[in-house]
């Protein structure tokens, strides 16, 4: 159950991070605090930063440094072209999957399965 949970969250978290930086470039701490607002994901710093690194290595996001008025320079993350393509297919995949699984386990919207 634990293993299943963490695998599931990891995939969803990838989708969440990509979606967060889709409209706006964001720096690490910003992403961490935004994800905290979705406690169901149970995503802490210790999960998010390694995953950001992974997304960068896969070429879905890239990074750049920008000066900050508040303190040290910040490393910003933004979607690459490839990342945009991946995000849009993940999104439709997710929507279909959720609808289908909800139907399967007898959740809310089973009518259109």
């Amino acid at each position: 159950m634990d293993e299943w949970n963490s695998q599931l969250r990891r995939g969803v978290l990838q989708l969440g991070i990509l979606a967060l930086i889709e409209a706006e470039q964001r720096y690490g701490y910003d992403i961490v605090t935004l994800l905290e607002k979705t406690p169901q994901l149970a995503a802490g710093e210790g999960t998010i930063y390694p995953l950001l690194r992974r997304l960068k290595k896969d070429g879905w996001v890239d990074t750049f440094w920008r000066e900050s008025a508040a303190g040290p320079p910040r490393q910003y993350y933004r979607l690459t072209e490839e990342g945009r393509v991946v995000l849009s297919s993940m999104r439709s995949e997710w929507t279909q999957l959720v609808a289908a699984v909800n139907g399967l386990i007898g959740g809310g919207s089973a009518d259109h399965v």
Partner: protein, 187 residues
């Protein structure tokens, strides 16, 4: 990043050390990211102890990074094996010649040159001492006087010694290079 807190730096250096299986450049980037996070979280009002606790133990954070790095290695395992095996085979074959040749030159020549120096000096002082008729140990130049023989002989000995030392150094470089290449082929 501007003010370096000893407690934060201790955490970061332990973190860096735990990332040992990643390439140096990548380690630097990752440590910078976490250092930045600590600064941002403290700017936002968190205490250092809280921020570090949320990050979790340095070695566990490092393990999470290394697990992600392993997952994103796109190449299938078999081809990594074959690559490493190929490099290993190439090195074994070349080592069969390179190591004995360089090793013999590197060990024998400096030793021989020391003997040569002694022999040439002895020969200069007691010309008859090393003359065994059929063979000699000191340098022999037909028709040359003893002083020329001594000077040329010593120069040759020094040259042999340098060649020997050079061979020994080459051997060391070769072995170091082999180990490095093998390691790169594997990781």
């Amino acid at each position: 990043m501007s003010e370096r807190n000893p407690m934060a730096e201790r955490y970061l250096s332990q973190f860096r050390a735990s990332l040992k299986r990643l390439p140096e450049a990548e380690r630097g980037e990752i440590v910078d990211e976490i250092r930045n996070h600590i600064a941002e979280a403290m700017n936002a009002g968190g205490s250092l102890a809280e921020v570090l606790e949320r990050l979790g133990p340095a070695d566990r954070l490092a393990r999470a990074y290394m697990a992600e790095a392993l997952l994103s290695q796109g190449e299938p395992n078999l081809s990594r094996w074959l690559k490493a095996a190929g490099v290993l085979a190439g090195f074994s074959l070349s080592s069969l010649f390179v190591i004995p040749v360089l090793g013999v030159f590197g060990l024998v020549l400096p030793f021989a040159s020391v003997l040569g120096v002694i022999a040439n000096i002895v020969q200069f002082i007691y010309p008859a001492a090393l003359d065994f008729g059929s063979g000699r140990i000191g340098t022999y130049i037909p028709g040359a006087d003893p002083v020329t023989t001594l000077v040329v002989g010593l120069a040759l000995d020094v040259l042999l010694c340098f060649i020997g030392i050079g061979a020994f150094r080459l051997l060391k470089v070769y072995i170091r290079l082999s180990i490095k290449t093998l390691r790169n082929a594997w990781s």
